[in-house]
Symmetry: C3
C-alpha cells in the first residue's frame, strides 16, 4: 500500500503504474485529465483486503498526478455497485493492511485521502452500495445514482455493529441529523429517489442516461484548469470534511462489537442465508437483515 | 422533576415508575425495547408546566432504561400534535420548574436530554405542532409527518418574541440558513410536503399509512442491539447537536421580550381570538397571527 | 463607499440618503419597515465597481435604520437578475474600492454586512444570476426563484478561476458537500427546480405569482417587531455564517489566477463571444463557457 513506488514516476499518465494489472478494478485513462475506474469483482463486487490495497495504490497515483482532474467510479455489475465488506473469513487479512499515510486504518485512510485529493471524484451508482460500499460513495465528491436501479444503505446497526468507515460523520453533514440517524439506525435500504431527497446522493439520473450524462460532466471537468479545481475544492473541504478525530473511533467500535459471540453468530447466520453471494438476501439486505437476528 | 426516584429502580420495564398515572401522556410499553407515548391533553394538546414536568420524568426513565431502544411520540388528537406552550396565565408555574440536570431551564433541559438519550426518539406527527410543539419534534431524532394533515411552525416572531427552546440552533442545522430563517422570521405554518422539502421533517407518509409505517420501523429498531444504536447515534450527536451555550440565550430573550407591555397586550388579543382553545385561530395560527398585531 | 454621511442622519426613512439618485439601483421604500431594491443596469445587470459602491452605501443605510425589517432585491430585467461581475476592462476601478468596514475587500464586505444586518434580506430571483450575481443571492437571507425563469451558477472554474466572493463557504453549508462541489466545479447553470432541490434557493414560485407572494411575505415581515427579528436572526447567524477567515482567501486566489496570461486570453475570447452584452452566450453561459477554453 506504499505510494513510494509511484511517486517516483511523477508524471501521471505516462506512468506504468496506472496500466499495471489490477485484480478488482478496471482502469481506463480516457484522457490526460479523465480516468474511469470500474469495480469488477465477481460475483457481487464485495470489498476485500485486496480491494482496499488496490484502492490505496490508486489513490496514491491520483494524488501524484498533476494532469488528472476527474475520476469516475462505476461498476461492471449493474446489480451491485459495491456490495459491502467481506472479511473472507480471515480478519487477519484486513488487519494486515495496517494504517495508511494519514495514520488512520487502511480503509478509513483510503476514504480520507480520496476526499482530499486534488481531483473531482465521481460515484456513478447503479445497483447496490451498502456498508463499506456506501462509505465509498460518501467519500467521493459527487454522487449520481440511477433513478430506477439504486439501493444504498448502512445495514451495520442491524447486525449489532457500528459502521466502521465513519459514515456518521459524512451523512450527518450531507443529510442532516434526522435523516442521517434514520439511515444509520433504521439501517434499511434507500432507493435512488429517497437517497436524493435525503441528500445521500447529489441527484438521480434516468438509468438509460446515467452513463452519458456522467461522462459529459467528466469530459467537461477534464478540460478545466487543474489549479482552479484544486483551490476551489479546498475551500469546500475546509467546511465540509470531518476532522480526523471523528474517524478513528468507529472502526475501533466496529472491531470490538464484531468480536462479540452474538455478532459472530449473527454473521454466520447471514452467511448461511447467502451473504457474499449473488443471492436473494444480498438483493434485499436492508429489509431482510432482520432474518439474521437471534430472535428471528 | 428529579430523576432520583426513578434511577433507584434501575431496571426499566419492570419499574413501577413507567406505569404510574400520567396527566398529559399515555404510555404504552409495547415491548422491552419499544415504548409508545401519546400526547393526550384536551382540548388541543398545549404544553404546560405539568407537561414539562411529566416529560422531564419520562426522559429520566428513558435515560435509565438499558432495555429501551425506541420511543415513539404521537398524539391522541388528530388535529393537534402539540399546539404550543400555554403559561396558564401564571408564569410562576413555569418559573417554578427551575433548571434540570443539565443546568438548563426545565423545557430546554427536556429537549437536550431527549436528543442525547441512548434511544431512538421518533415524532409521528399528525396535526399541528407550533412553537414549543415544534421545538419538541425538532428535539426528536426522527420526524415523520402525515402528508395530508401536518402544520409545523414557529409563530413566536409574529408575536414579538424569540422562540425560547432554541429551534434556531436545530433548524439552522437541519434546513440550512435560508430555510431556517424563513421558518423562523416569516413565522408562518409549513404543511407536510413543504416541511419535508425543507428538511424540517425526515419525510411525509400518507396519513392512512403513517401509524403502520412508523410502528414497523419502531418494531424493527426494538429488535436491534442497544449498544450498536447507542454508539452509532453518539457519533451523529457529536456533529449535529447544538452546544449548550447556544441554548440558554433564547429562553432569556423570550422572557425579556414577553414581559414587554406590547407583547402582553398582543398575547391578550390572541387569547380573545381563541388561543389555547379548539378555535379557528388555533387551526390557522401561522397565517392569522397577524390579527393580533397592534396595527391589525 | 463610506457610510459616515448616512450615519449622521440616523433616523432611517426620513433620511435624504435613501432618496438620492442611484445609478444601478432603483429604491422604493414601500413603508417604514419595507424596502424594495430593483437592479436596473442595462443591458444585462452586470455588477461593476459602481454597483459595488452603491450596494456598500445601501448596506450602510440598512445597518443604520432601526425601522427597517425587510429589504427585497429584484430585477428590472426579467432575463438577467445579476449577470456577473464586469471589470469594465479596467481592474483599477475595482481595486480602488479598497476594503470596507469589516476590513475585507469591498465586494466581500458588502456580502458579509448584508448577511449580518438586522433586517431580513430577500432575493426575488427572475432570470440569470451567475458568478458575483450568484454570490449576491447567496448572501441574502431568503432566496425565492421563478420556477420557469431562473438560471443560477458559478461559472468561474470554467474559466480557470476561483469564485472570489467565497460562495464555497455559503454553498457548502446550504447545499452540502456533494452538491456544492458539483455547482462549483462542474460550473454549469442550475434551473429553478434544480436549485431548490439542492438548497441553493429556499424554493421556487410560479413565475406569475413570484412578485405577489414575495410581496406578501415582505409586507408581513414589515409589521413584525424589529427586535424579535434581529435577535432571532442573530442565533441563526451564529450557526450558519462563515468565519471571516474563510472569506479573504478566495478573492486573493481569484486575482492571482485571473492575472495569468491563459486566463486573460480566455477572458478575451469570452468577450469576443459576447460576454457583458445581451448575447446568446450570456443566455447560456454555464453550458457555453467551454467555448472559451484554449482547446475549444
Amino acid at each position: 500500500m506504499s505510494t513510494a513506488s509511484t511517486s517516483a514516476s511523477g508524471n501521471g499518465r505516462g506512468s506504468d503504474a496506472w496500466s499495471r494489472s489490477w485484480t478488482h478494478l478496471r482502469i481506463d485513462r480516457r484522457s490526460r485529465g479523465h480516468c474511469r475506474v470500474t469495480f469488477d469483482h465477481a460475483p457481487i463486487n464485495t470489498i476485500t483486503a485486496t480491494t482496499v490495497a488496490e484502492l490505496a495504490e490508486l489513490v496514491g497515483l491520483i494524488e501524484q498526478d498533476g494532469d488528472l482532474n476527474v475520476v469516475v467510479f462505476d461498476s461492471a455489475n449493474p446489480d451491485f455497485y459495491l456490495a459491502h465488506y467481506d472479511v473472507e473469513n480471515d480478519p487477519g487479512r484486513t488487519a494486515a493492511l495496517g494504517v495508511g499515510p494519514t495514520g488512520l486504518p487502511a480503509w478509513t485512510d483510503v476514504l480520507v485521502r480520496l476526499s482530499r485529493a486534488p481531483v473531482v471524484s465521481v460515484a456513478s451508482i447503479r445497483g447496490r452500495a451498502r456498508g463499506a460500499g456506501s462509505e465509498f460513495v460518501l467519500a467521493c465528491d459527487l454522487r449520481f445514482a440511477s433513478r430506477e436501479n439504486t439501493l444504498l444503505g448502512q445495514f451495520e446497526v442491524g447486525i449489532g455493529l457500528v459502521p466502521g468507515g465513519a459514515p456518521m460523520a459524512r451523512l450527518a453533514r450531507l443529510a442532516g441529523r434526522g435523516r442521517a440517524l434514520e439511515i444509520l439506525l433504521v439501517a434499511d435500504d434507500l432507493d435512488g429517489p429517497r437517497a436524493a431527497e435525503y441528500g445521500y446522493v447529489n441527484r438521480v439520473i434516468a438509468d438509460g442516461r446515467l452513463d452519458d450524462e456522467v461522462d459529459a460532466m467528466a469530459s467537461r471537468l477534464a478540460r478545466f484548469d487543474h489549479d482552479a479545481i484544486e483551490r476551489t475544492k479546498s475551500y469546500v473541504d475546509r467546511v465540509t470534511l470531518p476532522a480526523d478525530d471523528e474517524l478513528s473511533g468507529p472502526i475501533a467500535d466496529f472491531r470490538e462489537l464484531f468480536a462479540r459471540p452474538a455478532q459472530q453468530a449473527q454473521w454466520a447466520r447471514l452467511q448461511e442465508l447467502g451473504l457474499n453471494t449473488d443471492s436473494d438476501i444480498e438483493r434485499s439486505l436492508g429489509r431482510r437483515v432482520v432474518e439474521s437476528l437471534a430472535d428471528a
